[in-house]
Point group: C2
Chain length 626, copies 2
């Protein structure tokens, strides 16, 4: 049977197979936060011609159903079918994501007062050629030269030795040894290159986010970031959030599929960066990756299954320095890959890298670090102690679980103002044009505006008859931000959406207060709040305070850091001292498991109001709504 798309693509579909699966097999990926289980309502397609069996409609509205819109994962064609894939449903992986280069990282590295000291070292060696009177073996000749330089007991892998004879002779015994120096353990030889022709030194720093993958190509001698690249994490084909990915990983072949997806993303970026700058793979000596615990496990092909099941145990947090070839990276297969250490199942290397990037671990002032991305992780502490927790905020600020939710890309409503007289919303859309959905910063704007205008009450419920923008939808009351006849999809926030967002912000805020409670500090003791993550720069602090997500402390204490995970990965790529600091951070951090904390549950319940049950915690907001 054939599945024809209005975009002119044709896909073969098997008897009894759903549209989502058939498209996936053909390399056409749809948004599917739930991984194709029929619950997220994102994989929308319109049946133009032909018959199909529809197993369920999930979150689709009556209007959508009447317009022949179905969920691809719940629809099985009964013959040839012509379908239209809704624009907002199509996942274009491999898309480049605009990443602002926020600062000169080489300068920033200098500000740490550490030397440039990558994971790999290079040692030029002019070996005497073998003769009949000096006929020791190649490896002994190399060891003898290393002994003279004070490098004893180096380890040699089978791969290294297998290429030794040829490398030495091809380079006429003048070679550069690339090796990793261990800490308290013997150094390990990585590979040999000729003294000439392959002597520039580069490395890649990688941030593996649940949603995006970012690669920085850095010069290992100067520290300069030569170029950067990024893409969506292709694992998104298998679900939006880490839990859905873990479930997929534990299903037959899923782990391999997920590993391959993200490694291919990294390789695609890296290859194009190397090509653009005419760099050979033998010149890319080292890599550093930072990702949450699940992403780090999957990158290394390790089953993340136990992360999801109580008592939530990762296989490891401190990763040995394995090789690029083991991860199937397209850099030199012998290059060491440093994994920024993780802390616990839901606080990973991205957070450790983040703390490193803020320098909060070096300063005596008490600081709060918040990374609100696909999940929400927080760290409180200073140069003496660090405490961390994951808030299970869920990925709603990235669009998941919100009817019209989407990521902060072209077509997303990113900010909202509501006219105090007419209640008409004024929206701003990324890239202009008509909106396709609403992203995290838009949601925060919308809710705090609605709250301020009295459209919703402190519980997040609509105040009846306040404006005819509020209407009764299929899931109950909803506020219409944009009416769109042509696309049959209005952009709304429903009461259920608001409830979800309030839960998410409550989880983040309760995380902060619980951690503070653990160490017995008041909110005002927090002298700096570092905000990292996806909507870092476009978040309106005042609105987020009004929502009750950020604490009500002076605005000047907030610092937007952008993607701290990649910054930390970069720092670890370049400096041995900073790798040690990252490990100190990870070892020092006390992890609080919020899911079993009574305090957290209490704090969470109190935070389910706008901005909070205890208005004394939000004096500024109290003044405004009065």
């Amino acid at each position: 049977m054939e599945l024809r798309l209005t975009s002119d693509e044709v896909v073969r579909i098997k008897e009894g197979e759903d549209i989502y699966t058939a498209l996936k097999r053909a390399g056409i990926y749809l948004m599917a936060s739930c991984g194709g289980k029929g619950t997220c309502g994102k994989c929308r397609v319109r049946i133009v011609e032909g018959d199909a069996e529809v197993k369920g409609y999930g979150k689709l509205t009556q209007t959508e159903r009447e317009s022949d819109i179905v969920l691809a994962c719940q629809t099985v064609p009964q013959g040839d079918l012509l379908i239209e894939v809704m624009k907002e449903s199509r996942l274009v992986v491999g898309d480049k994501i605009a990443i602002a280069r926020t600062r000169d990282l080489a300068e920033y590295l200098k500000s740490y007062g550490v030397g440039i000291n990558p994971t790999v070292k290079r040692l030029p060696l002019n070996l005497p050629a073998a003769t009949i009177t000096d006929n020791i073996s190649d490896l002994e000749r190399l060891k003898r030269a290393l002994d003279e330089k004070g490098l004893k007991d180096m380890r040699f892998s089978h791969e290294f030795v297998a290429e030794l004879a040829e490398s030495l002779r091809n380079s006429n015994w003048n070679v550069e040894l690339v090796y990793v120096e261990g800490r308290g353990v013997p150094a390990e030889a990585i590979f040999l290159t000729p003294l000439e022709g392959c002597n520039r030194r580069y490395g890649i720093a990688v941030d593996i986010g649940t949603t995006t993958v970012v690669v920085y190509l850095a010069n290992l001698i100067t520290g300069e970031v030569v170029d950067i690249g990024s893409t969506y994490n292709s694992q998104m084909r298998h679900g939006d959030d880490v839990i859905t990915r873990i479930v997929h990983a534990t299903e037959g072949g899923g782990l391999h599929e997920l590993q391959e997806a993200v490694v291919k993303d990294i390789n695609t970026i890296t290859d194009s960066l190397m090509e653009r700058h005419d760099i050979k793979s033998c010149e890319v000596d080292a890599a550093t990756i930072a990702g949450n615990t699940t992403m780090s496990h999957i990158f290394w092909g390790l089953n993340p299954g136990s992360i999801r099941e109580e008592p939530y145990i990762p296989t490891l947090n401190f990763f040995p320095m394995w090789r690029g070839g083991t991860a199937r990276l397209s850099i030199n297969p012998q290059s060491p890959v440093y994994t920024v250490p993780c802390v616990a199942s839901y606080v990973g290397g991205d957070i450790v890298a983040g703390v490193l990037a803020t320098k909060m671990h070096r300063n005596p002032e008490i600081a709060l670090f918040m990374d609100i991305g696909t999940n929400g992780e927080i760290v409180i502490g200073n140069n003496e102690w660090l405490m961390t927790a994951a808030c299970s905020a869920g990925p709603c600020f990235e669009g998941s679980g919100i009817r019209c939710g989407m990521r902060a890309t072209s077509g997303a409503i990113e900010s909202v103002k509501i006219d105090p007289q007419t209640y008409e919303p004024v929206i701003s859309v990324i890239g202009g044009g008509h909106p396709m959905g609403i992203c995290g910063s838009g949601m925060i704007d919308a809710i705090s505006e609605m709250f301020l205008m009295g459209v919703i009450d402190r519980k997040g419920k609509f105040v009846k008859d306040r404006t005819d923008r509020i209407r009764q939808g299929e899931e109950g009351a909803e506020f219409v931000f944009y009416k769109d006849e042509k696309h049959r999809k209005d952009i709304v926030l429903t009461e259920v959406d608001i409830e979800n967002i309030v839960r998410a912000k409550a989880a983040v805020y309760a995380g902060v207060t619980t951690l503070l409670g653990e160490v017995g500090f008041a909110m005002d003791a927090v002298e700096k709040v570092y905000i990292a993550g996806g909507f870092g720069n476009c978040l309106d602090v005042e609105k987020a305070i009004m929502l009750g997500m950020l604490p009500d402390i002076p605005k000047e204490r907030f610092v937007f850091m952008g993607n701290t995970s990649i910054t930390g990965a970069y720092l670890c790529l370049l400096s041995e001292e900073l790798r040690r600091e990252a490990e100190d951070i990870a070892s020092k951090m006390t992890y609080i498991e919020l899911s079993v904390s009574r305090n957290f549950m209490d704090e969470y319940m109190s935070a389910l109001f706008l901005p909070h049950t205890d208005m004394s915690q939000f004096p500024t907001v109290a003044g405004m709504v009065k």
Copy 2:
């Protein structure tokens, strides 16, 4: 085109392809000492029906040619062909070789006064199950338990970590850790097994000879040799001697082919031993291999090319402890494989193992160790010094380069007596029946008998008209030991054969005198002569002395050791102290490169007589021939 065999096999052959290559492709291997270059004359087939282009006849006699016998490697069919493969030309690899279990090795091990201490250790661990309050990662849990046992800084491979989560949970946190303890370096985790179900411990010791492969399966707790197995080294398909193998290894794909051949031999034996004793591969923890330098390189997939070219440099002599999986052994892929260290390009781990097996490195008396196998290696020394050399004797005692030469297997003439009156030879054939050739001990017998009876002179030339057993053959004079009308192949020794054998014995003897000369000792200072290698047990010492191969010292000083390479491999499998001794032996041995030694050339020239130019070195023989 088709190649039919009188044995009813049918093989497809390509246009322009020679018979040797076509048969090889079909898995039918012929003897080919030269590796199929047309020079050794071993790959004999008879054309029964059909036409063929014959490019050369090599060493075939006129009679053979007239009987339509050709060399398979020099013959290209011009259409379908029916051939008979000569019985002695077919190489039946995978054949078991009878190996005498010369002694109770566990008892012998005890005589060294060392403990049983294999390369791998096992540590039972009852880990506390992970809980929400004790939620460190799996690897940290393991490390914590190891810390308590005083094992710090263990290394963990990616393979180990990849299986960690499942291993721990499947065994309900009660596991046995299998690990390798380094010397001055951190220990390395190998794998985990459940506390129950996989707790017997076995290892394999392997002797990789150029001609044969021997495997001992040993109990790692008691030291008992559970079973033994052996086969011809399938690399023989590609040539008899190490040089031909090296040449093959440096040709496209040859190295991989040779590695695969020998590893498959080892696996075939090991699998059948494991099956016979109902042993699982997870119970085979460790392996030790001993082989000459070329065999050791090929086993590990390392190009032996530079071993052959001046200045004769191996890639390495001391092999890191790589894993079974790297060598593609069928034991547990994580099991460490210990390679008995080599000394130089032509003195390998088999010789180091041999010295270890003789204990000469522990005793003050000066001893001589001679391994006369495919090549000839000698060691002289005691507990203070050791000196070694390879004699380039060539594989003639294994049949190579001798017209009717063959290995000491069924059909070989193994001993010869010549009647002093009639000059009629009385032969003894291995396995009885009519002889197919003559093996090493038969050659030594034959030549010393002929010399004693005056059939040949001191130069190895036939004394004309002494007997009509001497006839004029195509390569000159030859002595007929067996007349065989039916098989069209008489068993003879030609003057050229005798010259080759005399050269070989001269190389061995000159090696001994050169080494003695280096240290300034007379022959009589040698208090023990340990004889190892293929014809160890059936060598007649007196005849070998008469030939001038062994020194003319009292017979009681000679000790036959059999296969010392496998004995040494076994000792290294079981004992850490003996592995250290093996390494001490290898480090301590002074290697003399005879090919560039003037003394050796002089000694060699003097030894080209029977038994020697200088009869004062052979007083007993002088007495007999007088």
